[in-house]
């Protein structure tokens, strides 16, 4: 056995030792073929080519693994991000509706000062709080099946506003 063939065998045995599990069968196959190559130099070139093939196979396996892992992470992040966005948009919608109702009632009070009389708090609370709260609850129920995060956002805001109004009424 000449030096190039010895070198080839050593190289392929080293590759076989270091190869990942999924490439090991192929590395073994290439090593076995070495015995059937007549020329020593051809054996060395065979081993060099085989080493490249195994490296590429191992690299492709690693790349697939990283890509799969990346996709999973991305999927998880996307899912969490989408839910958070849904909740935030639901809360934002509810807040905007409350502010709009509140602003509308203020304009009505300015236009019709008689309504803003000390004894006339109820129309104000009815327009700015009770009606929006009813809208929130109804829309949350309707949206719950298809747009759960948005419905949850609306519901959280409705509960927050409800608690705020209750505390406000209780303390004054």
């Amino acid at each position: 056995m000449g030096t190039p063939r010895r070198l080839a065998a050593r190289l392929l045995r080293a590759v076989l030792r270091l190869a990942p599990d999924e490439s090991r069968e192929w590395a073994t196959a290439m090593l076995r073929e070495l015995e059937f190559i007549e020329s020593d130099w051809a054996a060395l070139f065979w081993a060099l080519g085989s080493t490249t093939a195994i490296l590429r196979h191992a690299a492709s396996g690693l790349r697939n693994w990283i890509s799969r892992k990346g996709r999973n992470e991305e999927g998880r992040m996307n899912s969490t991000g989408k839910k958070a966005m849904g909740v935030a948009s639901g809360a934002l919608l509810a807040l905007m509706l409350t502010l709009a109702a509140f602003g509308l009632m203020r304009i009505i009070m300015i236009l019709f000062p008689g309504l803003g009389h000390q004894d006339a708090h109820w129309p104000y609370f009815l327009g700015a709080i009770v009606f929006p709260e009813i809208i929130f609850v109804v829309s949350a129920i309707l949206l719950w099946r298809k747009r759960t995060p948005i419905a949850a956002g609306i519901l959280f805001t409705a509960i927050g506003i409800g608690i705020h109004v209750t505390v406000h009424l209780a303390t004054r």
């Binding site: 290439m30 076995r32 073929e33 059937f36 085989s50 093939a53």
Partner: protein
């Protein structure tokens, strides 16, 4: 996933088609196609991963190392018949400018 049909892959398909029912060895395929091991084996690996090629270790005599053998699966045979060119009659020398010249 779609298999990229490079001229070298077509050569390998042709070589298998020549003896579709027979098990073939890596070194013999290398000689028939003129492909180096660094080109041939990635093609064999891809074909095997896509279940177009079945592999088997040769049951050899004691003291003799077993060899890895390859043969088309029925699906591989269909794929090769659909994609390979005429029966192979030469090696890599026939591949020119990305085309298999016959």
């Amino acid at each position: 996933m779609k298999l990229r049909l490079s001229p070298q892959t077509v050569l390998v398909l042709d070589a298998f088609l020549d003896q579709a029912e027979e098990w073939q060895y890596g070194y013999d395929l290398s000689r028939v196609t003129g492909l180096k091991s660094g080109t041939l084996y990635p093609i064999l690996m891809r074909l095997a991963e896509r279940k177009l090629l079945e592999t088997q270790w040769e049951a050899s005599d004691p003291g003799k190392p077993p060899r890895h053998m390859y043969r088309f699966t029925p699906e591989g045979l269909r794929f090769a018949r659909a994609n390979a060119t005429a029966p192979a009659s030469g090696g890599l020398g026939q591949v020119a400018l990305g085309l298999v010249v016959r």
